[in-house]
Each structure stands twice: as structure tokens, then as C-alpha cells.
Symmetry: D2
Subunit: 344 residues, 4 copies
């Protein structure tokens, strides 16, 4: 059994981790922490867990470093790095769900996140936790930087094209639409029901920090120079799910069948990526760890359109974290994933 702890219990990623780990046959959750709600029960904050997960929340000081195998950090950006630092000297394997170690270097972090990084040493050890790109490194890692939700969809949608040098690097538009849980559990005007319901808008134009995360990962995959992309997130009136509509231009002639074969080949050993014959919808993956992809070629305009759909809380956060944990502990990637998507 993998003895695990979850640091940060009040948010959606903490809640999803417990939902998923609950059914994992090899995991024993030993501690769940919350500084703001310690002493309360996990199910006081998330009442749907009543009778299932009534853990008493504790301070992170109580994490039994010697007697745990793995810790999930479900904390805000900027907070997580302190815990990575704290646990760095122990034998704990860490899966960090924040953005603190996803980028290549501290100065890139500081430039896009607008704050100083307090544990720059962590970048050397951190592996970007997208199994479809970095499975082997993840297996051997002690610190996994779990990818952002938008980047997971965009990178998985683009990777076969970039890796195979199909597209013009500078002609990439990623138009993404996300459910509200991506904005977190905290009540604020942007998540106020009547500001979201029956509504829709773009936000974070030009400088959303997931832009650089996508660009760095794709550039690492490219043999054809730096990838630069136009990324525009939008807020959907739904709870869960991201759909990214990705527009690219082929460097030379290509057919739809070639594209489909190329995607099939790229993902043939990756159980959570499904290639779909028709455009996928958010509910097709809701609650599950799938990333559903659809690719097509428009002869009229000479553009490739790729659609990528995930559940932002699962493949975009807690599910990917559990997938990474499986790899880090030598298990099959699918171990413990039981949920068929919930649709409707």
C-alpha cells in the first residue's frame, strides 16, 4: 500500500484527489491537511463525503514524513513551493498540483507569475507530469509538477503535429473554453452564479500564464524551433471541462487520413487518450481521466483543426496526479481509475 498524504483539502483538487484515491486499491490516505480548517472533518467542508471520508483535518506540520510514501500538494501557486522546500530533504515523493515547478526556470516563472520564486533549486529535480510526453522521467522522479488544465488539453492536442514537424511553428491559435471549477472554490465576482450562468466571455487575453507552459513543452518537443502560440481562454457556464479548438497550418501537403494515422500512432500506448471519429463534447469525459481528441483537415483553407477535451479537475488536475503517482510507484497507469464518464 502506498501511504499518502494530501496537503490542502479545501479546494476542488483536494476534493477530487480524495474522490479518486478512495477507489484506488493500493492507496492508503493517512493524512489530509488544512491550515484554515484544521480540527474540522473533511466531510464538514465537502458534505458529499459524509460517511466516506470523515478524516479530521490536520495542520501540515503533522505530516508524518517518515511514515509516508507520497504527498500530493493541492495548494495555490506561490504557497506550494514552501512545502516542496520543506519536504525536499525527506524521502517523500511529491506531486505538486500548483504551477510552481511547471516552467523551465525561476526567471521564466517570475516573469509570467509576477512573483519571486523561493525555492529555485526545485526546478532541477522537477519533472513535468504529462505521462504522454514524459512517462519515463516521471517513473524516476521524486518531484512531479502536475500540468495545468489548459496546457494538458493544448499539448495533447498539438503534440503529434509538433513532434512530427507537420506544422508552421508560428501559426498556432489555441482557443480554449473552460468550466468554472478552473477558477477555484473561492467565491468571487467571476464565479458568482449570475455572472456565469447563461453567460460567456473571454478573459486573460494575450498573457494568461498557461501560454508559456504550453509553449515551453511544445518547443521541447519540436525539432523545428520555438513554438509560439496565441492562447485565449474563455469561461463557460459549466462546472467541469475544457475544450480547446486548435488551429494550425501544415508546412506542406497533408491529408486527413495521414493526420488520423499520425495521432493514432502517437497515442497507441497511452490508455487515457481517445481518438474520436466525431467532435467530442465535455460530458463525454466528465469525471474521467480521458482526453478525447478529434483532428480534421480543411482542404479549402489548408488548415488543420484539432479539438481536445478533458475534465479540468481530473485529467487536468487530480486524475493526472494519480496517474503520475501510479507511474512513480511502478503501477499500471490505469490502476484505481474506475469511473466511466458521468453523462449526463
Amino acid at each position: 500500500m502506498i501511504k499518502t498524504g494530501i496537503v490542502g483539502a479545501t479546494g476542488y483538487t483536494g476534493s477530487e484527489l480524495v474522490r479518486l484515491l478512495y477507489n484506488h486499491p493500493e492507496v492508503d490516505i493517512r493524512i489530509i491537511t488544512s491550515e484554515s480548517r484544521k480540527g474540522e472533518r473533511f466531510s464538514d467542508i465537502h458534505p458529499h463525503f459524509q460517511g466516506l471520508a470523515d478524516y479530521e483535518l490536520q495542520s501540515a506540520d503533522k505530516v508524518p514524513e517518515e511514515d509516508l510514501d507520497a504527498v500530493f500538494l493541492a495548494l495555490p501557486h506561490g504557497v506550494s513551493m514552501d512545502y516542496v522546500k520543506k519536504f525536499a530533504g525527506t524521502g517523500l515523493r511529491m506531486i505538486d498540483l500548483s504551477g510552481d515547478f511547471r516552467l523551465s526556470a525561476p526567471d521564466v516563472y517570475e516573469s509570467w507569475y509576477g512573483k519571486e520564486h523561493t525555492f529555485p533549486q526545485g526546478f532541477k529535480k522537477a519533472v513535468y507530469g504529462l505521462p504522454e510526453l514524459h512517462r519515463d522521467e516521471i517513473r524516476n522522479s521524486r518531484l512531479v509538477a502536475n500540468p495545468g488544465c489548459y496546457p494538458t488539453s493544448a499539448i495533447l492536442g498539438l503534440a503529434p503535429l509538433v513532434k512530427n514537424n507537420i506544422i508552421i511553428p508560428g501559426q498556432v491559435v489555441v482557443d480554449s473554453k473552460s468550466g468554472v471549477t478552473g477558477a477555484g472554490v473561492k467565491a468571487k465576482p467571476t464565479t458568482h452564479y449570475s455572472n456565469v450562468s447563461d453567460n460567456f466571455k473571454a478573459y486573460g487575453l494575450k498573457r494568461h500564464r498557461h501560454t508559456i507552459e504550453i509553449e515551453e513543452q511544445l518547443s521541447g518537443l519540436s525539432s523545428n524551433g520555438t513554438m509560439q502560440l496565441q492562447f485565449t481562454p474563455h469561461l463557460l457556464p459549466v462546472d467541469r471541462g475544457i475544450l480547446s479548438t486548435i488551429y494550425t497550418q501544415p508546412r506542406e501537403g497533408v491529408t486527413e487520413n495521414q493526420l488520423k494515422a499520425l495521432y493514432a500512432d502517437f497515442y497507441k500506448t497511452h490508455p487515457f487518450v481517445r481518438l474520436r471519429p466525431e467532435p467530442p463534447a465535455l460530458k463525454d469525459v466528465r469525471g474521467s481521466n480521458f482526453c478525447d481528441l478529434f483532428v480534421t483537415y480543411d482542404e479549402r483553407t489548408n488548415r488543420i483543426i484539432t479539438l481536445a477535451v478533458i475534465d479540468n479537475l481530473v485529467k487536468g488536475a487530480a486524475g493526472q496526479a494519480m496517474q503520475n503517482m501510479n507511474l512513480m510507484f511502478g503501477l499500471e497507469e490505469e490502476t484505481g481509475f474506475v469511473a466511466v464518464p458521468l453523462n449526463p
Copy 2:
């Protein structure tokens, strides 16, 4: 032209007042106030008004008491009373959209609202602003206490039965369901999108303060003693609208046709109450000042079921306030109401 001011601009009732008064041919909005946002424009806070209502928000200290005819108080309970006190000595006609003067006496207020009332003298002057019950008093009033949203639906649904002494006073259940805007514009956990969307729950069981407002008004209408009722509000995943399902028991034999005739007679001179041949839905009144009613009799169980539907921000707040203003200034009740319900 009626020179009006609106005190309190940041909430939904303030916004709705401007939406409705904008099309009123006899109204000139002279000032809109906000203490927290003064100096900003009304359309900075409510951007859908850009180009339509770019008023600069001012402190309530700037209300030109001598040069106004009417003032709407769109303020929270407990705050409004201070402004009623402040304006009491002037010639201003006041329409108070809070709950501060809806009940019969200060001690009742204190018992249900849990706070002391700082202007008990106001109760004597205040008229309960439900035109379908108190049209004449409203015409002559200088202070109208605009009814609560739930009470508007419940009282209009029950009034013909109570007035005509049809039902057993103690056997009344009002099961109400409201949209989220009833909880106000402020972001809080109860209005957080993912807590509301695809969800539903009851709240305020047994002691919601609208209970006493409904009971007092109906008792005043009854020749058969005090009305007591079971009132349960629920939170719907919709923006606007209240549907109250009302269960009563007849004192003696009654037929469905008799009931329909009785409702038709009761509301025959009231343009905003529509008697519907089928159960009404929220969207049938959305954005409008209508209260749609449906009544039926169940022979099998000997119960009367009444359905009452309103838009909580219009007939349940700002629309009713404008209807009251029309009466106070000798206009036809419908003056300025142009909007057909927005459906879908």
C-alpha cells in the same frame, strides 16, 4: 416629469430600477448613489448599461432633497431605515425596497430580523406596497414599504382564498423556489456557481423572515382569525424567478370552477396579475412585472393547489416599486412598463 433618485446602485434592485425607469416616459433620474463606489460610473459596475446610463455615482449626501419628487431606497435591511429617517422630514416620497418597514411593528421586526429598529416612528406612516391589496393607501402614502419577493408570490396566490374565507387558516403550506438573484449581488459560497449550478436545496426552514410578512398580510385580509403557514424556500439554479406551490384545505365543499371564478373576480382590475389555464413557468414572466397564477382543486384529497410565479427582481422588487411610484403620482399603474417577458 417625476424627478427621482435611487439610493444604492450596486445591487440587483438598483440595476433593475434603472432598467425599468429608463423607459418610463414620466421619469427623470436625477441622481444615483453609492457610498462604496462613488465617483465611478453606473455603467462601470453594470457594463450592460454602457451608453445608456453612464451616471456618475454620488454619495447619498448629495441627494437634492428640495429638487426631487421621489426616492427609491435600494439598500440592505438595517441600512435603509437610516435613510428613511433622514428623508422623513422632507417632501420626498419614498419607496423602500428593504424589509425595514414591511412588518406591523418594531418588536415584530426585532424578533424576526434579529436587530434593533432605529426608526420605529416610520412604521406608522409606512404602507405595505402590494397594489393588489392596498392600492388606495399607496396612492396617498409618502412611505411605501415595497414587499419581499417570496411574500409577493405567496400573498397574491392566497389572497382570494383568504379574503373569501375559503380555507382553513392553520392548514397552509407554501413551498417556494427562488432564483439566485434573490440572494443578492455579493459573491458568497451560497451563490458560487458550482454550488448552485445543476444543484438544488432547501434553506431557511421554519424561520425565514418572509414567513411573518406573509402571515401578517394575510391575517389582515382574513375575517377568520390569524393565518399561520409553513413556508419553505429553496434555491433554484436560475437567475430570476420565484414559483410558489401553495397547498390549502377548503373549509367546506368547493369546485374548481368556483375557485377560478373567485380568482378572476378578485384580480379583475389588476393588470399585472394573469390567471393562467395551465401551470405557469418562470420564463413566462421573466423580465416583466406579471404575477401569473394557476389554481386547481384536487377532489381526491380535498386540497386546493395554487401556483404563483413572478420575476423576483421585477414584480418581486423593482417593478413593483415602479408600480407603486405610478400610484403615488397619480399615473396609470402600467405606465412605463414596456417589456414583454423575455422567453427564452
Copy 3:
């Protein structure tokens, strides 16, 4: 392994059965049928199952009666009875998710369902499949009539009160609110998005056929005569979930603590009923087989209010069916139920 078949694959209950049985360690799905879509794959109709459940749909004629242990009938009312008749002579255990065998006798069925019953003999064998009331009979049954969704919530909410003779039999109001999936998978005006979204209405007043199902079950539990109730269903703009708000009157003095103790005792051996300290919400049970209950007593009005919440497709249909299957085959009731509720 329990060799099972599912007759009727295109609707929501068929789809949910596959979702739940997919994770059941003792079940082998051998055949899924559809007359209208035979030859297609199950995942063509429900694409979220791609890669998980790509069964080729077959005609029900192909059900291998000799080589199956159990069959689920996920069919419309009036159709199901023909299959019950067809399989009655075989050794198959049947779980019928339609309303065809839920009532006490053919004439009651005909009176409330408005159609003749073609297999009246079935009523003698059928057991009403609510495990919290009829666990032992279900264990020994070969034909389980799986309860309706509204009745599951109403009966579980009322059973402790009725069984213990707490309430006045004629004073029961059940005001229920259901998500849209209760109306089925077929597109029709009542399920058209813009008729449901941001909307709410009552329907089926006075004569919804679930009324008699609730009354019969409760009357069977009562030592105090026939139960009669006022049942009003409403349509919520949500996918899944039923919340029933139940109003009753005690025969004599009662306290809230007594009520809570009585419910706790009644359900102490029933793993899927959770007694909640606060009013439950739909999402607290979404995707799960839980029925969450809350009970309170209003001293002011001398009424008991009970809230009952289920997922209509799980505890109200497919989950309850799997729970019944577990009982029929000597398994623990919880076997195979892995899903924590999906919230948000």
C-alpha cells in the same frame, strides 16, 4: 460471475446500468439489446463509452436465456411486461426498471397508467424492489419491480414516520422537484433546452402515477390505515437528482431529537441511506446510490419537515437495480458501488 443481459440500451437507465455494472467485480455483461439500433455499437449511441463498452447491440431475441443469470429490463412502461412474460418460464432473474409491476394489482395499474396489462400473472411474483423496506423478499425473488424515482425519495423520507405511527395519515404533502433525465432520453418539447434552462414549473398535478405507488407502499407499512398524499412533481433545470420536501403532522407531541433517533434506528442497517445534520443538496448524491435524508420539527406550526435527496438515475433507477441484483445473488448490498458522488 453473474452473467447478465440488459434489454433496452438507448435510454438513460440502460446507459447507467452499464456505467455501474462496468465496475462490478462479480458481473459479466453478456448482451445488450436494442430493437431500434441493433447492429450498432453501444458506444455509437453513448459515445462517452468509446473504448469501454463497445458491445454490438442485438435484438432481444438473441438473449441466451439458458446461459444468463439475470436480465435487467430498461424499457418503457407497457413494453416491459411483454418481456417479463417472455422470460417468465426461464430460470432468469429479472429486474424490471419500468412501472409495469410496481403496483398491487392489474386493475390499479390500469386505472393509473391508462392501459390494459397484458401479463397480470406477473403481479403475484413481483417484489417491490426497495431494499430498505423489502430486503428479505428481494433476496428470494425472481422478479423485482424496481421502484420509481419519485417514490424512492418519498417512501424513504416517510417510512420511519409511517412505520412508527407518528403522523396523521391524511395530512401528507410531498412537493418533489426532479431533474430532466427523469423525462427520458427522447427529444420532446418538455425536454427542449430553452424550455428547461433558467426555467421551472410544476406538472402532473393531482394525478401523477407515482402517487399511487407511494400510497400503496406506505399503506402497507402503516398500522394506522390507508395513507393518502398530495404529490406534486416539478421540473428542475438540472440533469440529475430529485429533492422531495415532505410536510407531515404528528399525531401527538414529538421532539426533533426523537425524530432523528427514530430515523437513525430505522436506517441503521441500510448503507445507502445517510442521515444528514443539514439540508442536503442534489449534488451531494450525484452519480451515487445514496439517499440523503434530513428531518426537522417546527414547534411553531406543529409540523414535521423531511427532505429526501437521490440521484434519480442511480438510487432512483439503475443503482437501485444493481443493489437489488446484489441481494438476489447473495452479495453484500454495496458490492460494486465505487463512485463517490461527483460534486461539483
Copy 4:
């Protein structure tokens, strides 16, 4: 008074026409037709009009051609052309809300709509009814082809860039998201509540017929050759509204301020286009005839992003039709438009 008729009353555009014309001071609705529901009342089909618009629906044969000034055709594509033909010889001014006369020629229509055109002569007379581009022609027209909903948003978003020769003609991506009412009033799987709610997907990739409508209009505006664009529509879980996110590339250096000035100049005499300082949301225009635009320049990527928001049933259909009618009859464009957007 303009004596008008509405041919086609059962759909959303028919219903919206009545909502808007109801408040128009110069319009007298003389007849509303429906072949499928003739004899019924308009408010039987659209019950929110009860007491407001109880017209008896008639066959289109009853349209009093001699005694009408204008007729709105709110009919499906392929049906409308027959009525245009029928009324072509009369003095009636026609506003056709279908797609039958929006394109440049019958063969283009046949290629994109996949059906033969039965009144090719109509193309010569028809004026494309986008007042911001063709105000003068509309004033003198007897047949206005009211634009499609997506094209209205896309063309208004792109027109200043195309007209001023700012962008590279082949590098245009229009990623559009629409509410469900765009799919019509008829119940079908794509508009089934549970297929839309909490969901999102792309559809009509590469060959949606609005593509050619946008391309033709923009090409007509361009002094720099044919415009070709990538257009991808998506289905939002909202009732009303379209947001188009438009990506273009400047031919040469440009600044954000230049772009904003250029848009301001282009629309300075057009009352229904609002230039917004921040990205607009659907609800900012809901129920109104506004098109809200936002433009920005991304120096990092050298791309221009334009956001265009409309209510698809108003500026995208019935409102634009009334705006066109105003022009055709010499009225101010804004005449009769009273509704402030309904938000929330």
C-alpha cells in the same frame, strides 16, 4: 402607422418579432400566420404573451397584400423563397429572415445550402440587411435579406479591419460560440436539455453555410482581394447570444490605439454598435439589439484579436429585421427599441 404582417409564428424569430414590434410606436401588426397552427392563438404557442398578443393565427393565404405595408418572413430556409416569389409582384416591402437571399447568386446558394433555388430572380432585388454596411441600399430596398446570426457578429467584428486594409486576407480565424436558440424551436437530440446543459462542443466544422455569407460580405468590402476564413461554430449551454473570437494578422505595423480609433471611426454613426473597453459578455447584450465589440493587439505574437457579442435572436435576427424596417420606412434606426439588456 406601418401595417405589418408576420409570416411564420411558431419559431423563435417570429416570437421575438412580436416582442419587439409590440413596443414599436409606429407599427400595427395586422396578421400573424402559421400553416401548422392556424386557428390557434399566438399566445397558445407562446404563453408568455397571454393578454399581450392573443392574435388568432391564420394561413399565409390570408395576408391582405393590398392593405399591408411590410411583411416579415420568419420561415425556414427553402420555404421563404416561395413567399418572396408570391409577394414579389405586390407593393409589400419584405424582410426575409431566412438564408434564401443572403448570398450573391443562385449557384452559390445551391452549392452551400444543397438545394435548388426556386426564385433566382429574387437575388437581383435583394439587399443584404446589415445596416452598418448597407444602410443606404436598405433604405431603398423592397426586399431585405436579413443576415445570419454568426455572420452579423463576424462581419461587424472584421469590417473595420477589412475596409481599411489592415489585415492579411487569408489569415482569419473566426471561432464562434452560440446559444441554443440558434438551432430553432424544434425539439431534437442536439437541443435536448441533457445533451446541452453542462456541456459544450464544436459542430459544422469546415462547411457551415454561414462561412460563405461572411466571406462574400467581407470580400465586397475589401480592396485587397477575396477574403477567406476559417469559421468554427460551437454550441454553448445558454439560451441566447453569440460570442465570436476573431484572430487576424496585420499586414504591417499597427498599435492597439490605432485599432481602437479605427473601430470608433467606422462605427461612429451606428447606434447599435458599442465599443467596449473590456471583453464583453453575452449577458451584456441579452434581449437588446447591441453588438458589443472589443479589439486588442498582441505585440508578442503580432496578432489582432477582436471579440464580437450579440443576442442571436435580436441583432442576429428579429432586432436587425426591425432596424431594417425602420430604415425602409424612413424612421430613425432606433425607433421602437426600448429594452435595456436583461442582465442578469
